[in-house]
Amino acid sequence: MNHIPWLTLLIVIPAGAAILLQIVPRRDTATIKVVTITATAASAVIVGLLLAWIPGNKASSGPLPLHFEETHAWLPAINATYHLGIDGVSAWLLALNAGVFLLGALAVSRKGTDRLRFYCTLLLITEAATTGVLLSIDLLLFYMFWEGMLVPLYVLLSNWGGDKRGPATLKFIVYTVAGSLLMLVAIIYLYVQSPNGSFDLESILAQPIASGTPFVIPIIHLSTFTPKELAFICFALAFAIKIPIVPFHTWLPDLYESCPPAVLVFFAGIVSKLGAYGFIRFAITLFPGEMEKYRFVLAGLAILSILYGALMALSERDLKRIVAYASISHLGFISLGIFSLTGNGINGAVIQMVNHGIIISALFLIVGYVEARTGTRDLGELSGLEKRMPWLYFFFLVATLASLGMPGMNSFVGEFAIMLGAFQLHWVYAVLAGGGVVLAAWYMLRLHQGLMHDPPKPRTEGVHDLHFGEGLLLLPLAALMIFIGLYPKPITDITKGSVNTYVSMIQPGASNQSTQ
């Protein structure tokens, strides 16, 4: 079966389905839904198969141990290649990616929307682009998908967004494009500097790039950054904006606020994780020395994200903004794990990326259901939903506990490993992150109890419980939150080999110290 280009299929299926949708009549919503769901489900099945095959599959012998590699010439003139491959880290993110788009497709099919065909087309194109981001090993190809995913997202947001969509989308696009353009400059720098002039990550890694001499400011003779450091900073900025890390985060709350829940499921589910993935895949491999040099600063920013996001979540009143800031706080944990540059931290970060995708999707679905029933997102106007909506209460409880890092649930696994990694970096980081955990309990309970408990208010009188279909969307998410909490080993069994490779790039031989 190895002659089938599985990875290309993963990109082609959603893209092809998007094209196929154009010949379906606009009013035939049933067929549109079937095509969309089939395409996203097919991708999910393939990813599932790939995950099952990885343990038995022999990895490539390049600098990065990759599976299911595909290499073809793409633009021979500038030596850009069509080079795809997955490893333990991207495999799980691919699974998350396939999952959240399937969920997004199901969510929109259940509820329906105006201009459904256009919507589904954009959803499928977004999936093709994010899949491409996760698969690309060639830097130029990666950049193309990275920028490409903004287009369908922009159209989605500007057509289906809420009241404040105009300024919010503008801010998002300008912010991220500014970051990406810096990254493009850095990519070109790497291309020029690499001995054989290549965009391919593996061939750049084969012959490390010298860091060059630092720029010196004339007259005062102050040494500043080396060219390679500048390139690293460009990459880091692009990824930090995408995650986002405080203080590059202000696009996120506004955007999430004006974004419809069905879009948020995959937007919040995968897009923010791509920045973190970029740090692991490109920043650590291409700039190990720079990562090590700046790890304390970066980890400090991650801590800032954790605490600042938590404090903002504690004082906001809008449900979506609370979840958005909670998300920033959680993404701070993921970043902290990566910047700890330890096996524990990075493994934890990968687990936590998957977890965060699951939890945030569930939370936004729940917020969407509440808003649809009560017509408001103001925490002050909502209370006492538990009596009216026992099933929503149950799912929300599970999601709340998962989100606040309840031991026995999925987030605990990730946060425990991340904080252990942070502790290995310096104990202060772990203690501060612990403060973030306490704040998380506070703001999540404020949200949960505010919605669910106390006597009902006018807005919450007479609402009805979840429909069967709505519950069915939440059920697999809740089940995963519990299952991963009890048995996280399947995830880490696949990630740990790749993570060891990354860690050993930074500290050669560090991964071999693991003796009893």
Partner: protein, 649 residues
């Protein structure tokens, strides 16, 4: 006991309550009250039966083999060493068997009681689901053989406590109390997690048997081991409501009374004692941490005793008494008297659950009245409840030959020699003071509620509770009298069945500050303890039964600050509110109102503004006048020449 039997027992004892919880939660509302009553109690009874098997197996095991660890599945494996590697490990030994017996045994009685107590509550299915889930969590906690699994149980227990405190979720006070309890627990969890980090980075393992086998990594009395023990102790203090993390427990009385009996008296709050006993190997390496634990335990015992004297809510009085008694247990494990601490845990679980349930009967009979000033004279109308409450009070007050007397005098006796210099004697004197306090507040409650005349009209119309609520109370009432007789006598070389059973668990290492007293000294301590308890009870009788002098008169003679401090619980709630909660909220508000728009958005918008301003400025250069262009051209040409000639050359 082989591994196969052990894993079967572990799975079964965990499975029954979990199954009960799921059945009640998902099917209970559909299948109705009878189903829930049966599923809720039978599941715990089944767990109790399994626990009995465990006990038999542990007792019957040959010497040195009464400890077995089973792995149900691998939890995570990042390669070992400093990389995480954790298994779903559970352990069976004398300590966990004891905990199993108490949790399932007392738990079962409380479940039966709940059938009566929740008879008229619409949320009965949810209630039993949560209660069963609590038993499951608590069993996970005491069976865990890996620190991570222990933390999971530790937090699940806090979760069930949260759910049950906030059970009546349309009461804002209950909701707030639940949140407070949960957040306090999370602080404890974080301390445990960080302790786990220190342990795994130094011993390369999180499995409890391996940690205890690799203590060579920790220099005796060093900063590292002291840090670990202090962090573990913070976790224990949060769970066991010890100073300074104690303020959640009285508020937790917002939950239904069976919850207070099960979680906030008998089992969960004693988990801190269990934790320290479980980690005795580490605590024995750090005398500093042990001393700290002992002092905080004794300090909390005094503080809670003083507060209990002035509270007017029947459940809060018992809650503070719980805090005080757990303080004594914490003191015991702090000085290294682990079996004595666990023995007090056993008797306390019985008589405190009894007191809460009897109080529940009173509250029920008076239609949810909890203010003791409005009670009184109930002894004639609630005969059985009165007898049981009296037995519980005598046990709590340490009356001669009641169960509390055995365990309390036992642990105080061990305190006479344990510690450096004069410390043991000071702590012992304080302990004797706690005896007086205990007698005082226990019998203030008893006399105010049951003796004298009814204070309201409702008091004349009360009826004894129904059978479901009475039988468990009576059973516990009998146990509160007799349970300690066959087990242990607080003098060396007398009856010591209990310490023979539990002793081997703690035999491996000895606390450096622990010294058992000889027969003579123990006898002296016993006499002093007995007399002080009697003094407390006698004083209470004079004040609140005979009113010679009347307590109001005594109160008026005391300096005003004492009753104020006691009544206001030493102002801890106010201090935490002003010093912690409000500042964090203020910072959060500032972040939203100022930092986010001005700083975080500010710098991004600033760049935009800068570029816009620059382009506006540039626009003004485009005047269309030849002379402007010519002069700009000349100036820049000159600058170029200067640069070229003087700098770039």
């Amino acid at each position: 006991m082989n591994v196969g039997t052990a894993s079967t027992l572990v799975v079964l004892v965990l499975l029954f309550p979990l199954l009960g919880s799921a059945l009640n939660g998902f099917l209970g509302p559909v299948l109705g009250r009878r189903f829930v009553n049966i599923a809720g109690t039978v599941s715990i009874f089944a767990a109790f039966v399994v626990a009995c098997f465990v006990l038999v197996n542990v007792i019957g095991a040959p010497v040195g083999h009464a400890f077995i660890t089973v792995r149900l599945w691998d939890w995570i494996d990042l390669g070992g060493g400093t990389n995480l590697s954790v298994g779903m490990d559970f352990t069976l030994d004398a300590l966990s068997a004891l905990m199993l017996m108490v949790i399932t045994g007392v738990g079962f009685l409380i479940h039966v009681y709940s059938v009566g107590y929740m008879e008229h509550d619409a949320g009965f299915a949810r209630f039993f689901s949560y209660m069963n889930f609590f038993i499951f969590s608590m069993l996970t906690l005491v069976l865990a053989a890996d620190l991570v699994i222990l933390i999971i149980g530790w937090a699940l227990v806090a979760l069930s406590s949260y759910l049950l405190i906030g059970f009546w979720h349309d009461r804002p006070t209950a909701v707030a109390a639940a949140r407070k309890a949960f957040i306090t627990q999370v602080i404890g969890d974080v301390a445990l997690v960080i302790a786990a980090f220190l342990i795994v980075l130094n011993t390369h393992t999180l499995s409890l048997p391996n940690i205890f086998a690799r203590t060579a990594a920790f220099p005796q009395g060093g900063a590292l081991i002291t840090g670990i023990c202090v962090l573990l102790a913070i976790g224990a203090f949060a769970k066991s409501a010890q100073f300074p993390l104690h303020t959640w427990l009285p508020d937790a009385m917002e939950g239904p009374t069976p919850v207070s009996a099960l979680i906030h008296a008998a089992t969960m709050v004693t988990a801190g004692v269990y934790l320290i006993a479980r980690f005795h190997v580490l605590f024995n390496l750090s005398p500093v941490a042990e001393g700290l634990v002992a002092c905080i335990g004794m300090g909390t015992a005094v503080m809670a005793g003083i507060i209990a004297l002035s509270q007017i809510d029947i459940k809060r009085v018992i809650a503070y008494s719980t805090m005080s008694q757990i303080g004594l247990m914490i003191y015991a494990v702090g000085i290294g008297a682990y079996t004595a601490g666990m023995f007090h845990f056993l008797t306390h679980a019985v008589f405190k659950a009894l007191l809460f349930m009897a109080a529940g009967n009173v509250i029920h009979a008076l239609h949810d009245e909890q203010d003791i000033r409005l009670m009184g004279g109930l002894s004639a109308r609630m005969k059985w409840t009165h007898l049981a409450f009296g037995a519980g009070s005598l046990a709590l007050g340490g009356f001669f030959l009641f169960s509390g007397w055995f365990s309390k005098e036992d642990l105080l006796g061990f305190g006479t020699l344990s510690g450096p210099g004069p410390a043991p004697w000071i702590l012992y004197a304080v302990g004797a003071g706690v005896n007086i306090l205990t007698g005082l507040y226990a019998f203030r409650l008893y006399f105010t509620v049951f003796q004298g005349e009814p204070q309201t009209a409702r008091g004349f119309g009360v009826k004894e509770a129904g059978n479901a609520m009475l039988i468990p109370v009576v059973i516990l009432g009998v146990l509160a009298v007799v349970i300690a007789w066959p087990l242990e006598f607080p003098l060396p070389n007398t009856i010591h069945l209990f310490s023979d059973f539990l002793g081997p668990v703690f035999a491996g290492s000895q606390s450096p500050i622990f010294h058992a007293p000889g027969f003579g000294l123990a006898l002296l301590a016993l006499v002093i303890g007995t007399v002080t308890s009697l003094v407390g009870i006698g004083l209470a009788m004079r004040l609140w039964y005979e009113h010679r002098p009347d307590p109001q008169v005594v109160l008026a003679r005391l300096p005003r600050v004492l009753p104020l401090l006691s009544y206001n619980k030493f102002y801890f709630d106010e201090i935490y509110d002003r010093g912690l909660v409000r500042p964090v909220k203020a910072v959060a508000r500032t972040a939203r109102r100022v930092v986010e728009p001005e700083v975080m958005d500010g710098w991004v918008n600033g760049i935009g503004e800068l570029l816009r301003g620059f382009s506006i400025d540039m626009r003004s250069v485009q005047t269309g006048l030849i002379r402007d262009y010519a002069s700009i051209f000349t100036v820049f040409a000159l600058v170029l020449v200067v640069v070229w000639v003087f700098i770039a050359r």
